[in-house]
Amino acid sequence: MTATAGVPQAVLSAAPGTAPGERLRQLHLSKVLVVGVVLVALLLLVLYPFGWVVYNSLHEDTTQAWSLSNYLNLFADKDLYLPMLNSVLLATAVGIVSVLLGVPAAWLVGRTDMPGRRTVRTLTLAAFVTPSFVGATAWILLGAPNSGWLNHAWRWVAGAEQPLFNIYSMAGTVFVSAIYTVPFTFTIVGSALDSMAVELEDAATTLGSGTWHTMSHVTLPLVMPAILAGFILSFIQGITLFGVPAFLLAPGGTQVVTTRLAELYQQFPPQLYLAAAYCMPLLLLTAALFLLRRRVLGRRRFTVISGKGRAGRTVPLKGWRWPAFAAAMFVPVTAILLPYTALLIVSLSKAWGRGPSLDNLTLDWYAKVLVGNVETRTAVINSFTYAIAGATLCVALGVVVAYLVERRSVKFTSLYASLATMPMVIPGIVLSVGFFAAFTRPPFKLYGTSWILIAAFCAAFLPIAFAQCSALLKGISPDLERVARSLGASEVHTFRAITAPLMRSGLVAAWLLVFIPIIRELSVAVFLITPKTNVMTTLIYNAKDGGDYEALCAMSVLLILSTLVLIAIAQLVGSRPRRSTLSTEARR
């Protein structure tokens, strides 16, 4: 209803000067169809399961009766509200640190002649695939106060008594969370920089502005939407992460929302309904963040791709090329090279407690993981199938929603935007229960099929696809689309012929940003899997849970290697031909 009501107005305003009747007739059965499908998808994937989360939150766990007691408890029980404050603190810090690390790195990779740009890009993105409990495990090996290898090295080099740092602390938790969250800010800002016309920077330079001045007064403001999107995603990630705070923060006695949630599920009897209510304050907080973002950005325009051509010029760093490279390698080193070295050493040990030595060396764990058994293979195949299907559907949906919202092609754009953003704030385990309730009962009865998992993954990571696509679209001038429209192309056709090709590299990045978290996701799937639809992370987690560290590390190493290969392929598909496509498309 909403959708169709919005259509004629949008068409009339977008195509002035043509006979309304004519337009309306052509109109765009296809657009009505697209809007309809998107609306139904959003309602089914987001609103319907979320409705179940709300319904659950309004029930009492023991009596199953309607009640507000869960909400009242949230603010009466110190054990519930203190973790919320800690979560907000952690998430804010994670957001800030990942902007501080990700934005400069994205600029160096996208805009300068720094050496090793492709290496930095690939490794930073690959950091994303690390399940948070694996990253935390590796950093325990590196940074535990007594036994951490880096602390050992420090004591040896400096002759110190005290450790260099203690990973079991709020600072340690922020650090480890942030290095695995940087891929958000890095990729989103990177895509914005990639698709930005250099002539604006050139103009500034021509007018006498120095490199730094240009960067702070032209480049940075132009990518502000992307930075804010990256910050918000990192913030949300900081709120919903479980593994890192569970392993690094809980030992010091500090609880956050996710570790408290785990307790609610762990205890007997479980308090699933209280857990549902426990997410709502976070949801409101994130909504507030989005409102704030809109106020900050206001009605300013951030067009960086216009109809005029662009050249892929870069800023020469001169003597700063190698120092810049060293700085840009901070995340690859701390998130990949150091931790995966630790994981590799463990995975090559017969018994890791004996430490690295020749007689302790074996490849058995890799053989076991690779040969595996039928169930392991099924789980690996399932993971990749769901991730490919989920990411593709998710990006398809995300880009259309982002288009409708950014180009204001429909009424109530903020409704679409909120629906597309909501799922991410709900911690996976709660979403899992919502999906279970929503899709197990008639008419869907999807439980036990692959579809319930694909749907849940698609919904859970829709916010990433949406955020990335919105940031991309903010940078593409609607002028190009208006030209096509005025020449008689339909909105759907314009999108396919003009907008989508312009977004190409950004879309590949969006696909990866969704694909990778699906591969490593554990909690969204937790109640939705059945033996037949089991996923890889369940097995990885079982290896951790059963203390099977050598196997855990071998699986993690294989996971990161296969992701690196995949990113390399995706970059070939997405990024290489893009420049030529972009310029030809833009000049057409």
């Binding site: 809980a250 006695g253 890791w352 169930e375």
Partner: protein, 346 residues
């Protein structure tokens, strides 16, 4: 075709293989006569929701069962005990029938399921060979012992000459800053241990432990991790079987059975009333009480489920000194234990 020839050659070539084959034929023949197996085979499938036993042992059970009873497709879902239980609970609330056999480390799950009328009675064959102290867990035969888990003290032998001999001695000054322990909020075994310690020594024990500034992890498995990495040297509320398995793999770690009792926690198993393949589930529960299954347990350093199959290194339940929390009022005891833990340890 090629496979056929190789197989025939293989059989012809060695007498040993022929004997083995003959033996398995004989076993198969024995199994064929079992009407329960026939009924299970007609069902053709078995869906296991298990949290007791780690992935490796769970898989070895599954594989041995499949080899012994061909024609039944076994799907194993191994997740943490509370997770498989929550999952079954959700399924029951939504009228889904998927799970044939539930095995978790928390008897409270089964008490709740029984009260809700969600279990079906079945006493597995071989229940009479269980160690006498573990028989007749439920008077109505709704649930039975599926695993025995022991909680102990573990330590790094190269760094600790004289490990603490009892729970009480963990509170001695020399262990300050050296202890690692899991959390009762994350681990059922640690929760049982907290209940047992409070029953034995009251909250003073927890206060004394807090003064030792232990490193508090999540699962009881984390104690082994901390000891192997060298972060701490002594583990309290530590897993007995898993530590022994790590020791046998060549890792520098060992266990002590505390003088004031190992804490015993039972894994429990039962068949949901709505199980889609109840006969296959019954057959599987019978299998878990077989000699074969206990040998798998012994190999993986788990306590066996039969009094006539000794554990690894000749241990038996009779030879060890252990304590088990009485099931009456256990839910409240666990809840209170966790509250006190949070109050005192944090």
């Amino acid at each position: 075709m090629t496979q056929h020839i190789t197989r025939r050659r293989f059989v012809q070539s060695t007498a040993a293989a022929a004997t083995a084959l003959g033996l398995s034929h004989w076993r198969l023949a024995e199994a064929q006569d079992d009407p329960l197996y026939q009924a299970a085979k007609k069902e053709g499938k078995l869906s296991l929701y298990w949290g007791s036993y780690e992935q490796k042992t769970a898989e070895e059970f599954r594989d041995a069962f499949k080899a012994k009873y061909p024609g039944i497709e076994v799907a194993l879902l191994r997740q943490a005990s509370q997770t498989v239980y929550n999952k079954l609970r959700l399924e029951l609330q939504n009228n889904v029938a998927e799970c044939d056999s539930l095995g978790t480390t928390n008897i409270l799950h089964f008490i709740e399921l029984k009260a809700a009328g969600a279990l079906q009675p079945y006493v597995p064959q071989g229940a009479d060979v269980l160690p006498s102290s573990l028989q007749k867990l439920d008077g109505d035969g709704m649930y039975h012992v599926g695993a025995v888990s022991l909680t102990s003290i573990n330590f790094q032998p190269a760094k600790v000459k004289q490990p603490p001999a009892s729970w009480k001695s963990l509170l001695d000054d020399e262990w300050a800053g050296k202890i690692t322990i899991g959390s009762p909020t994350a681990s059922g075994d640690v929760a049982s241990w907290v209940v047992a310690m409070r029953a034995k020594y009251g909250d003073d024990f927890l206060r004394g432990l807090a003064r030792q500034r232990p490193k508090i992890g999540q699962s009881n498995v984390d104690t082994v991790t901390d000891i192997l990495s060298g972060e701490r040297v002594v583990g309290a509320a530590a897993p007995f079987s898993y530590t022994l398995a790590q020791k046998s793999a060549g890792n520098p770690i060992d266990v002590v059975a505390p003088a004031d009792d190992l804490i015993l926690n039972l894994g429990v198993m039962g068949i949901p009333k709505n199980a889609p393949h109840p006969n296959a589930a019954k057959l599987y529960h019978n299998f878990l009480y077989s000699r074969e299954a206990s040998q798998i347990l012994s190999k993986n350093f788990w306590p066996t489920l039969r009094s006539d199959v000794p554990w690894a290194e000749g241990r038996t339940l009779e030879k060890l000194k252990w304590y088990r929390n009485p099931p009456a009022n256990l839910a409240a005891e666990v809840a209170e234990g966790i509250v006190k833990w949070k109050e005192i340890m944090r």
